[in-house]
Symmetry: D2
Subunit: 424 residues, 4 copies
Amino acid sequence: MTALVQRYLDGILAEHAGVSQGALANYIPELACVDPTGFGLSVSSSDGYVYESGDADVQFTMQSISKPFTYALVLNQLGQDDVDARIGVEPSGEGFNKISVDQVTNMPKNPMINAGAIVACSLVPGRSVDDRFDLVREFYSACAGRSLDFDDDVYRSERASGSRNRGIAYLLDSFGALGADPDDALDLYIRQCSLKVTSTDLARMGSTLARGGLNPLTGRQVTDAAVVRRTLSVMVTCGMYDAAGEWVSAVGMPAKSGVGGGIVAVLPGQLGIGVYSPRIDDKGNSVRGMLVCRSLSQQLGLHFLTVSSEAHAAIRGVYNPRPGVRVYEVHGDLLFAGAEQVARTATRDCAEFDTAILDVSRLHTISEPARALLAGLSDDLQALNKRGLLVDPSGSVAPATAAYDDLVFATVEDALTAAGDQRS
Amino acid sequence: MTALVQRYLDGILAEHAGVSQGALANYIPELACVDPTGFGLSVSSSDGYVYESGDADVQFTMQSISKPFTYALVLNQLGQDDVDARIGVEPSGEGFNKISVDQVTNMPKNPMINAGAIVACSLVPGRSVDDRFDLVREFYSACAGRSLDFDDDVYRSERASGSRNRGIAYLLDSFGALGADPDDALDLYIRQCSLKVTSTDLARMGSTLARGGLNPLTGRQVTDAAVVRRTLSVMVTCGMYDAAGEWVSAVGMPAKSGVGGGIVAVLPGQLGIGVYSPRIDDKGNSVRGMLVCRSLSQQLGLHFLTVSSEAHAAIRGVYNPRPGVRVYEVHGDLLFAGAEQVARTATRDCAEFDTAILDVSRLHTISEPARALLAGLSDDLQALNKRGLLVDPSGSVAPATAAYDDLVFATVEDALTAAGDQRS
Amino acid sequence: MTALVQRYLDGILAEHAGVSQGALANYIPELACVDPTGFGLSVSSSDGYVYESGDADVQFTMQSISKPFTYALVLNQLGQDDVDARIGVEPSGEGFNKISVDQVTNMPKNPMINAGAIVACSLVPGRSVDDRFDLVREFYSACAGRSLDFDDDVYRSERASGSRNRGIAYLLDSFGALGADPDDALDLYIRQCSLKVTSTDLARMGSTLARGGLNPLTGRQVTDAAVVRRTLSVMVTCGMYDAAGEWVSAVGMPAKSGVGGGIVAVLPGQLGIGVYSPRIDDKGNSVRGMLVCRSLSQQLGLHFLTVSSEAHAAIRGVYNPRPGVRVYEVHGDLLFAGAEQVARTATRDCAEFDTAILDVSRLHTISEPARALLAGLSDDLQALNKRGLLVDPSGSVAPATAAYDDLVFATVEDALTAAGDQRS
Amino acid sequence: MTALVQRYLDGILAEHAGVSQGALANYIPELACVDPTGFGLSVSSSDGYVYESGDADVQFTMQSISKPFTYALVLNQLGQDDVDARIGVEPSGEGFNKISVDQVTNMPKNPMINAGAIVACSLVPGRSVDDRFDLVREFYSACAGRSLDFDDDVYRSERASGSRNRGIAYLLDSFGALGADPDDALDLYIRQCSLKVTSTDLARMGSTLARGGLNPLTGRQVTDAAVVRRTLSVMVTCGMYDAAGEWVSAVGMPAKSGVGGGIVAVLPGQLGIGVYSPRIDDKGNSVRGMLVCRSLSQQLGLHFLTVSSEAHAAIRGVYNPRPGVRVYEVHGDLLFAGAEQVARTATRDCAEFDTAILDVSRLHTISEPARALLAGLSDDLQALNKRGLLVDPSGSVAPATAAYDDLVFATVEDALTAAGDQRS
């Protein structure tokens, strides 16, 4: 199944390759000396399979993408009550360059703004900044499934230039909002911003959130589902700064961006997505990264309010009517992620049959990307020396081309007959 | 399966029955003369089955619950671009009693606040207020699956007393924000607020949204999935006033309340929920309605970021190893809604078998409500004169009680043997 | 003395005559059909003498200039406590088109914004709108010293088009903020906005405020000093919308503008100023009216923080050393208004002497406008067939020109000798 | 004249001595170890005479009272344009603990808030913090008329604890708002806050502002009138935090408080006032200091909108009708400050006459404090072995007691006759 999904992703990258709006972050020299044309996209399925396109192996610093992960870490370490007493969960309704501390409680409004992230850093347990940073790096690495590197140049440079974050840290200290010394909290924040990832790392980290804290690559339960649910909730309402409503409507994936050019997006239960393109807009979001997220959502139907409607869809039954033949009954409303699951299940299990019969006669609706995936299943199985037949009485999946005439049937019985004929 | 779910819902109602906080809305006499102890809960599955508990047949006026439905109606009639040019989709970050018009564009910040709802009313097409109201009532009725009645007393009373909404309507007119005469827009708004529903109507209306615009009771596609996605997106970020972040984190269902005491909540793809309890808090939300939504989410795991992770869960395979015996293979991470689907499928299809074998040996995780549902399946089948056996080698589902000794097996083969034994 | 002050005022008008920025208010047709080039300036001294320049007799509607006068009226009628319970006195910190109602108390922030003015109207006592309007018109007329006319066309037009003010009135009613029916309060507000004045009327109304409520023309005490002090205080902090600090710094006169093109400004204890120029900026202030106020303040030193320093200045002593000769001793820091007083006193009393000796030897400082006024006194007296001599040992007042050689002396004795010589 | 004014001030202190609300500032130990009952009041006339009452010689640190003086210093050094480009002049409309930086320009809203004061410090010229502090201390000392001391303990303590101001300084630096290194600007700010004054120093500093920059004690022109006008303007609109409107209405004196317990208030052209009482309210204002300012304004009529109306009042003429007799003609509206001037003039010049005749027959109105002052003039003169007679045909000044029978006359002629009689 890799091939068709791969072509989708390559196509989306190609579609936006020519966009040159935005500029490299320039507040420290290190961020301004990367290749501005870098462009990578990685998508991890919920069982850990990763599709990559473009510069998926280029490393860049996480910057603000670190925020949800450290928030998850402190939720994991301290529990929700203690963290809620320090950091709010409401959208700030303010621009990205505001401090956004609640006027009554002096608590940062949410952990996705700098003030909230610095408070989160102050809550990471440990006897020293080194101790705390070890914990942070270990947690991120566990989400990514590999040990992440540290960019010392970016760290030193941000440390020297960060008047704004230093100002926020001292103000938070004056409010009694920090759980640690302001200089230490700030130091940890700058360190975590300087950890390096690729778009594939981000996709894997996203898939760990998508799976409720289970890294599908390593099988390790990094944190629990309640922590992830709260982290994703906050990403939904506060992740993309002051346009939460528009982002939820148009994209519908909890996400977080960083001025290094990365974006992580999560389709709960389904996918982790990482994008890299270092030219950012005046709000600090990767220009092409945002476009890619929109295209993925719109073209592949990856919206969390849509995808969840598939919970009752996809594979309804699997049975072997006779040795060597397996029938997959698909029903309900089928979108991209469900179709990808069906197709990947069939190709994965192909050692167990000679002929697969895909019965789509009970499908209610099917999206175009899903249709194309299922229609291509026969070709994929043929490449594995297997046969794929389609029971599609209403023609909802199969293209009306002669090439499919021998593969499409009105009933399972007809398909079985054909399977028998051809086998003999 | 009805019995156990019914007991869950009855239990949640009983748990909160003693709560007497809040007060009847009193700004018009008609709202203050209802029975304050009324308490009803209805839950509609995505295929239209409705569970009811308490005063599920008491009628009350929709009030603000009308807002998302009229927003959906104008999206449906005019298209998203025209509506977006008039009404924003961002949370207001302001209290529920603020006007919340954007300082630059003079557009209401979202359609869930009064200003946005009045603009939406001004966009409903029609030559007269009567025409427009016919369209609104028809749309709501199509979502509910029955023709909704109108409360003339409430309408007349609100019309006479509504200085605040009249003020908002005139201000919007002065901003050029309305698509119709301010008095007409206001009149339509008061009329739609005066339509009467029961908690069951709300559950059905919610299930129509949960199904992407398809009323599962009537089978009518009331509007399309894109309209519903945008409507639900706005309910996610703006539905519960200024505590969007907390609501998304703790409840995780797009919802809307009205001062009449109703709340509609939607679990996309899964459920529509209606609650009624007329004592409201100082923000205008039903006190017990909010508690019920929280309990449903927490006890039954009805959070949209959680449920969507079930897309790859539930029934993996269904087959008949021999006549009269059907095996249901369940896998993945199983939560309430998935278990309810499994159990309901088995009881619904019980005419097709004598013995059902539920194979849970491939389950990854299971929530407590889901466990209880599956464990109770044997009893439910017995009531239908069928047998239900469990293949549960690790004891993840079956209670460790003697009553289950004869029903639980380590392998499907063992269960088949037992099925044969008992049958003979 | 008229001549020199007149030339000052004519000069200031000429200086700004060519300014064509701004546009006629156009929200109702009646306001847009006036002559856009109209330009009038009137200045009333604290004893009621009025200087006029340009179109000082053109009538225009008061619009928002009515606000401080109705505020004064209700303070006068109800007392400060009752009014303070309804209308705040703090700057709104918001743009001129905001409603600016306190978020906690729902009280308008001050009486200079529309919301506050409508509340003030709702507090005017009377059994009917006609009664109340009679009271308002009588009060304004008493301040102006003549009966003011009413523009019925403007009234009818604003009544038909005022969605914004109608919206505000209904919102205020919904907050319980009004002391009367919202339609009645609004009607009175529109009526008072439609009263007609000339720039001279405004100057006289301003001088009534400058004199603590005493109309210097009619001698009638229209209201008391405490009412005026509070009214002027609010004009200081809230009169010129959201630029109070800049206006106080640069102009330093409590003021109020109206979209009809008028501005009233008050120099407490000294002057009332009226300006008319109907082209307004996007905040609704007369463009040339603002420029004239700035020029008057800067060129003539009319800043309330400066002028008050004259309290210990001006005429220190007046005596007749011998029949027919009067000595005026001037001391302290002399600015325009003080010099105008000195010069006017001498010319007014000239029937009582043949020769006036102005002794400026004790002056501490003198501003340039004040210097020019005193230096011109000899000419003014000569026009009245009197002689004016100057005792000015340090040359602080007299120009160093030969024309003054015979008029300037080092001591009063020298001047007396000269007076005697010349008389004989 | 000292005696009666002294009794007024002592009385006001006594009136509020029992007030024990408020608490010592406790954010650094040094501020909390002063005597909480300390209470001092000093009033300097515009010619430098100082009245003192209570603990007028207790030293305390200036804290925020330093703000207007450093603002005046940088206006003086850089000119208004350069300062305006860095610091606004508008009220913030926000609580005293807000940062109040303009959302668009990132400029502090005014120099009376901490952010604005730190920017002002960054603009003080000098090669080092020591250089700059020398300039600041010299400027303050010139305003006070003596060299001010520095409290090293308070300085060190504030330096160690000032996270909030450090946070603000760094944020300002990140906005590009500072003219110097953030640590240096902050250091200077803490130093200036640690300069020590008495209430008498504050009264003298206030009188220097009241006199347009001329220290009436030393005769030194410390800065010019334009600088003072702008400084006082900003104190009017921004000096007393978020209650500018109420302060202007009720007190009407530009003022500034500090958490050390001091308040400086200025009646332009008239008086400088210093109060000390270290118990502060939750906004950081001296509780009793505020009450004293209100009482002074209300009881003595010290409101800048009222006092300025005296510009045409007070002494109209002074003449000696015969050797040893001097007539003072008083006219207009007489308030406290004018009466104090009259009385002080007569007592000061008493070497030049044996009998003073105070002619109040032309008075228009007189306030009660002014009346008492003039009525007491006879006693004051008697103590100097002079006689004081009153021409008061309408009884507006003299008490109706027998003690005055011999001192009050209907005409100047009657008084002259009596003067002759009594002299002989």
